[in-house]
Symmetry: C2
Subunit: 357 residues, 2 copies
Amino acid sequence: MIGALEATGNPASIHGAGRLARRVLEEARGQVAIAVGAASGDVVFCSGGTEANATAIAALAPGRRVLVGATEHDAVRAAVPADAVVLPVLQDGTLDLAALESGLAGGGPALVCVMLANNETGVVHPMREVAALCRAHGALLHVDAVQGAGRMKIDMGSLGAATLALSGHKLGGPKGAGALVLAAGMHLPALIAGGGQERGRRGGTPALPAIAGFGAAMAAVGDAGRLAGLRDRLEAAAVGLGAVVCGSGPRLGNTSCLALAGVRAETQVISLDLAGVAVSAGSACSSGKVTESRVLAAMGLGELAGCAIRVSLPWNACEADIDGFIAAYSVMTARLRTKGVPGGPGGAASLHPAFSS
Amino acid sequence: MIGALEATGNPASIHGAGRLARRVLEEARGQVAIAVGAASGDVVFCSGGTEANATAIAALAPGRRVLVGATEHDAVRAAVPADAVVLPVLQDGTLDLAALESGLAGGGPALVCVMLANNETGVVHPMREVAALCRAHGALLHVDAVQGAGRMKIDMGSLGAATLALSGHKLGGPKGAGALVLAAGMHLPALIAGGGQERGRRGGTPALPAIAGFGAAMAAVGDAGRLAGLRDRLEAAAVGLGAVVCGSGPRLGNTSCLALAGVRAETQVISLDLAGVAVSAGSACSSGKVTESRVLAAMGLGELAGCAIRVSLPWNACEADIDGFIAAYSVMTARLRTKGVPGGPGGAASLHPAFSS
């Protein structure tokens, strides 16, 4: 990234400084393409996951019925038309495939928006089945892979998606870069047209330093199994202290959604923050306003939806980070027990069949 | 920026890491606001000038007739509706105010898009008169200030614009950040909605490192007069070698458009590049495709529109840079003279009344 900061040329310029900047851009494009099994020419850089989702939906939704998962990120929910059909999820957090099938059976061209993995629970949707249903009904599939990328294998060649959204800062890159990846042969109009950069699919001078960091992060994606081991230890300790883990479907190795019955999520976030542990209540993107998690409510968790925190292990998390979390979580639950707030060991886990550790 | 890279929190998060990131964001917002005489709350960060222009026009154009200057940047031209009225410029490159007035007299709500200064010639439009005409006819004014910012004083309080577009990398900041500045009390819908960041006016996690650099660059804007002095020396030398300066209207201190009759712009760009001088033919943003400059054609320069290069002095240009340019330009014109190509001293300057040095 430091090198990219020094590449002050405009990658669209034909002079030497421009060509150097273009090399930085195209190297990053190749890194992203390889990481998701796409051709370089099908990677469209933009400012992040939100723009990537907005671009795909703005291009593909007109003239199509839109079906969108109930637990999609706000970046997707805010981009789909107001009359989009919201597809429910099962109690385990995965998409209700029967609802998708009956929704698609309505006929006519359709766009289906289903995320690869959920940002609050880490639950991974049954993408193979989703794609097969879309294919069978001639529907286009847009996949928000912002949370899943870098934590599970992605292959555009076999995924069955028309478009795929990625974000650099979710996998160790800097904020300010993302990509929309297109299926081979797919073309779509720009949401931001400008000077015709990115082969006319996204105008504006590319955010070179952030893009370079995004590419490097994609190329450096580590061992997802290592994070899953850390996550398992964290969750076992939290459950022993009274937490329940939300989302019993298949999950990413780095994301835990921990509910503590009767304790407001905001209280937990502040308590853990005082101990130096940064967690979110629901989606960080909307957590300035702490409200009940729409995702957990869609999973049928009722009041518990306001009592869950989201713990994300970054790519460089280590054993000491897990120790630190467990110590902070332990202090928090002990203090809450003293105050007579529910949430002690064994308190709520059996009440909600949707939870698993 | 390095500090901002290390602020890995999400500015929307309420924990300590989030609050630190928010401080970085709000410090930059204050720097931009002060530099353009706006309130912090009226600065909406986005990915750059192209997005800022696209956001303003997408929000304000519906339901209004759109009038757009003939020499506007592609970021604006690509964003306005296909039926927008194109306002001609005078031979000196400034907007034809009589055309604006008669266009506005057509009646009905209107949006006028006029740039503060042109990116190819540096010509500064008569913004006071433009704003007065818009006010008199109840039209909204959007100003693309991407080229002018940092090179001339901007005061949102007196400019008369509803919206103003800025780009960080045009004034020494990194690529990947810009802002849309709103008039006091103005609100507009987001082009990219997402999680409601930037008070609902631009979704997506802000590009913190680039935004920090943008703010710092705005706060560090230097002495425009110093650049104008360097520019004058550069232009005088180029004119002595046969160049004509395009755009006799008031101009920015850092931008020169130098035409050499009979010599294709691309030939000049490549020749100067070999000598280590990076110039563009027309707008860098579209210069991958070297075509005749639409801006110069609109100024009535005819065939000369394909024979002009754009020389931009960056914020840190120094006397040695001017020496380097003059040496390279001198070698180039001498070689062209040897080959019998027009462009020698005195060759074309008198043919085009629109030129001035």
